[in-house]
C-alpha cells in the first residue's frame, strides 16, 4: 500500500476507482441522480464531471427504473455503465429492473448478451436518516442468481473491488456503507482468499466472528474488550455475499468450533442466517456451541439517535453474544 492510499478515506478510494476506470477504459460511463454537476450527495463522484465531461458522467432524472434500465440497455451494446442509486433504499423503486431484468435477461436469452452493469448503492444505518434512507438492503437481493453482491468494508479494498466489479461481465451490486465514507484504513487491509473470497481480518483461535461493513467495524471495536476477557476471536470480512466464500468460514470454524455472524438488519431472510445454516450443515461435527446470528431487531430502523444505536449490532452486543458462546 502506498502512503497516498493509506491516507485514503473510503470515499476517496471509491472516487479513485471510478476515475481510474474512466481513464483506463473509454467504455465506462457513470449515471445517476446528482452524480455529475453536484458530485453526488455523498460527494463520491465530485470532480469526475470536470475531468470526463457530461457525455460520460450523466445526471439523470429521479427515475430509478430509467437509471437501471438505461444502464442495462447501454451495457448490451458494449458500454460499462456504473449506475448510482443515491440511497440504497431507492433500489426498491427499481426492484423489477434489478431482479427481473438485470439479473435474468442474459440467462433468458440463452446467454446471447451480457449486462455488465455496476450498481453503486449508498447503504446502511448510523447517520440518522430514518427508515427509508438507512436500510442495509443487500439482503433484498441475496437470493437472486445472476447478481454478484459486493460489500466492501475497507477503503483500499473498496478501490480494488470496485475496479473488479466494473470489469466483471456480470452485473454487480456494489454496496457502499454510508457510515464508512469518512473512514480510513488505520490498521492495514487483510489479504482475501481470491478475488471473490472472504478475508481473515484478525486471526484467532476461540471463536469465528463473520461480519461485513459497519457491523464488521463494531466487531473490530469489540476486540480489545474480548481480549481483556481472554477471548481470542478470529474475525472474517465476507467482502462478497454472492458469490459467498463459505470455505474460508468453514476452515475457521474447524479451528475455533464456534461461529457468530453479526449482521446489520433483521435476521429473517439475510446472509447471516444462511451462513449459520451452512455451517450447521457442513461443519456440524466441529461445533462446540450453536452457530449464532447477532442481528438487528425485527422493527423498521428508528430515527432518534439513542434508538438507532439500540437497533445496531453494537460492540457491546458483540461482546455479550461472544461471552454466551464461549461459555458452552
Amino acid at each position: 500500500m502506498t502512503t497516498a492510499q493509506r491516507s485514503w478515506t473510503y470515499r476517496d478510494a471509491i472516487r479513485s476507482a471510478l476515475a481510474d476506470e474512466l481513464r483506463a477504459d473509454p467504455t465506462v460511463l457513470l449515471l445517476g441522480e446528482d452524480v455529475a454537476a453536484a458530485g453526488g450527495v455523498f460527494k463520491v463522484t465530485n470532480g469526475l464531471l470536470d475531468e470526463f465531461g457530461p457525455v460520460r458522467i450523466r445526471d439523470t432524472p429521479i427515475s430509478e427504473q430509467a437509471i437501471i434500465g438505461g444502464a442495462i440497455g447501454a451495457a448490451m451494446l458494449g458500454w460499462k455503465p456504473v449506475a448510482e442509486i443515491m440511497f440504497a433504499d431507492f433500489a426498491a423503486v427499481a426492484y423489477d429492473q434489478i431482479t427481473n431484468q438485470l439479473a435474468k435477461h442474459s440467462f433468458l436469452t440463452g446467454m446471447q448478451v451480457s449486462t455488465p452493469v455496476t450498481v453503486r448503492l449508498a447503504n446502511g444505518a448510523g447517520l440518522g436518516f430514518a427508515g427509508q434512507h438507512s436500510q442495509a438492503v443487500e439482503n433484498w437481493f441475496i437470493g437472486e442468481p445472476g447478481l454478484k453482491i459486493c460489500v466492501p468494508s475497507f477503503a483500499a479494498d473498496a478501490y480494488t473491488l470496485l475496479r473488479q466489479a466494473i470489469q466483471d461481465p456480470a452485473p454487480v451490486l456494489f454496496f457502499e456503507h454510508k457510515s464508512l465514507y469518512p473512514r480510513r484504513d488505520d490498521e492495514g487491509v487483510p489479504t482475501p482468499a481470491g478475488p471473490h473470497g472472504a478475508a481473515v481480518v484478525r486471526a484467532g483461535g476461540d471463536i469465528t466472528i463473520v461480519a461485513t461493513q459497519a457491523a464488521l467495524r463494531s466487531v473490530l471495536e469489540a476486540r480489545p474488550e474480548l481480549e481483556r476477557l481472554g477471548v481470542d476471536a478470529e474475525i472474517i470480512d465476507l467482502r462478497w455475499l454472492r458469490p459467498l466464500d463459505l470455505d474460508t468460514v468453514l476452515k475457521s470454524v474447524v479451528k475455533t468450533s464456534r461461529l457468530l455472524c453479526v449482521q446489520e438488519g433483521e435476521a429473517m431472510g439475510g446472509w447471516g442466517e444462511h451462513v449459520v445454516a451452512e455451517v450447521a450443515r457442513s461443519g456440524f461435527s466441529h461445533l462446540d456451541a450453536p452457530p449464532t446470528l447477532l442481528a438487528s431487531p425485527p422493527v423498521p430502523l428508528p430515527y432518534a439517535g439513542g434508538l438507532e444505536k439500540l437497533w445496531m449490532p453494537s460492540p457491546e452486543k458483540v461482546v455479550t453474544a461472544v461471552q454466551e458462546l464461549v461459555r458452552w
Partner: protein, 345 residues
C-alpha cells in the same frame, strides 16, 4: 411456383410520379413489398402453428399470440437496418420474426428445444435474436421501455447512427417504467422509436376502463415528444411512419411515439377465449385483416399477380407444418447452464 412480382413489373417504383403512385411514398420496390407480405404470412402461420402445438400440450405455461397485428411488426421492422436494435413484449413472436429470426428456431424456443433461439431458457415470452438486433422480449409489462431507452443511449454514444425501436401495448402506457423511459428519452434526446400497438385491450380489460385518454399520442405531448397515430393494419402506413421517425432519430432529432391502431384476433393468452369482446367489434376488425388488406392492395396495384397472395399463403403454411414436425422431433433442452456461463471470463 409463381413468382411474386407481376410481369408488368413495378420494381422501379420509387417516386417518379408521386401523385398517382401509391408505392412512391415508401420507396419500396414490388419485390420488397411482396416479401413484406410473405413475412406477415409467415408470422400468421407460425402463430397458427403455435396454437396447434399448444393444443397438443407441447407449449408450456401460456403463450401470447399476435394474429391480426402482423402489419405493425413487419412495417416497423422494415424501417430498421443492421446495427439497429429492437425490443418487444411477451407478445413478440411477430416482431422477432419480422426482424429476420429463423422461424424454426422461434418454434423451437416456444416448445423448449435445445435448438431454440434461447436454448430453451426463455420460451414463448422471451424470444431474442441478438445477432439480428432483437435484443429481447420482456414479460413484465413496460419493463423493457427503460431498457429500450438505454439501448438508444448506447447508440447515441456512438453518434446516433443506429437507433432503438421498441414495441409495447396500450396497457404499458399506464405503468411507471413507460413514463420514466419517455421522460428520459425526451430529456436526453435519445434515438428511440416507441411503437405502441394499441389493440384496445389491456389483457382482458378494455382501454376505456383503464385509461383516461382516447388517443395515446396524448401521452407523448406531456414529454414534448413528436407523436403520430397510424393505422396499424396498413403495413405501408406503419412503415412510412416508422421510417420517418427512424430518419429523425438518426439525424439527432430524438425520440418519436407512434400509436399503431390494431386488433388482437385472439385472446390475451391461450387460456383466454376473449368472450368480453363485442361480436360486432371482432367482425369489424376481422374484415380489416392486415394480410388480406395488403394482399388485395398489391394485387389491385398490379405489384403482384392476382393468384400470388393465396398461393404464397399455401406455400408458407405447408412450409411451417413441415418445419414444425422437424422441430417437434428435435432434442429437448436438457442442461441448465449457470447465469453468464460462456460469457464470464
Amino acid at each position: 411456383m409463381t413468382g411474386p412480382v407481376a410481369a408488368s413489373g413495378n420494381d422501379a417504383r420509387g417516386g417518379t410520379e408521386p401523385g398517382d403512385r401509391p408505392l412512391a411514398r415508401t420507396g419500396l420496390t414490388g419485390t420488397q413489398l411482396a416479401s413484406m407480405l410473405t413475412d406477415m404470412i409467415m408470422i400468421r402461420e407460425i402463430e397458427n402453428e403455435v396454437e396447434r402445438l399448444y393444443s397438443r400440450g407441447l407449449v408450456r405455461g401460456s403463450t401470447h399470440l399476435c394474429q391480426g397485428q402482423e402489419g405493425v411488426a413487419v412495417g416497423a421492422c422494415r424501417a430498421l437496418r443492421a446495427g439497429d436494435t429492437m425490443t418487444c413484449t411477451y407478445r413478440g413472436h411477430g416482431a422477432v420474426l419480422a426482424l429476420g429470426a429463423a422461424p424454426d428456431k422461434v418454434l423451437g424456443e416456444i416448445i423448449g428445444k435445445e435448438m431454440g433461439l434461447c436454448r430453451g431458457l426463455g420460451g414463448s415470452m422471451h424470444l431474442a435474436d441478438v445477432a439480428r438486433g432483437a435484443m429481447g422480449a420482456f414479460a413484465i409489462v413496460g419493463a423493457h421501455l427503460p431498457i429500450a431507452a438505454g439501448l438508444a443511449w448506447g447508440h447515441q454514444l456512438r453518434g446516433n447512427a443506429e437507433v432503438s425501436l421498441t414495441f409495447f401495448g396500450d396497457g404499458s402506457t399506464n405503468i411507471g417504467g413507460f413514463h420514466e423511459a419517455m421522460n428520459l428519452a425526451s430529456v436526453w434526446r435519445l434515438p428511440v422509436i416507441f411503437v405502441c400497438e394499441n389493440n384496445l385491450y389491456g389483457e382482458y380489460t378494455p382501454m376505456a376502463v383503464t385509461t383516461p385518454v382516447e388517443r395515446l399520442t396524448e401521452r407523448a405531448s406531456a414529454y414534448r415528444m413528436p407523436s403520430v397515430q397510424v393505422d396499424g393494419n396498413d403495413v405501408r402506413a406503419v412503415y412510412d411512419t416508422c421510417a420517418d421517425a427512424v430518419d429523425r432519430a438518426r439525424q439527432g432529432g430524438g425520440p418519436t411515439f407512434i400509436e399503431a391502431l390494431t386488433y388482437r384476433q385472439r385472446g390475451h393468452s391461450r387460456t383466454d377465449p376473449a368472450k368480453y369482446r363485442p361480436a360486432e367489434e371482432v367482425e369489424r376488425w376481422l374484415a380489416r385483416d392486415p394480410i388480406d388488406l395488403f394482399g388485395a392492395a398489391l394485387v389491385a396495384e398490379q405489384a403482384v399477380l392476382p393468384e400470388w397472395p393465396a398461393s404464397e399463403r399455401q406455400r408458407v403454411a405447408s412450409l411451417v407444418r413441415q418445419m414444425s414436425e422437424e422441430v417437434v422431433a428435435a432434442p429437448e433442452a436438457a442442461t441448465v447452464p449457470a447465469p453468464f456461463e460462456g460469457i464470464l471470463a
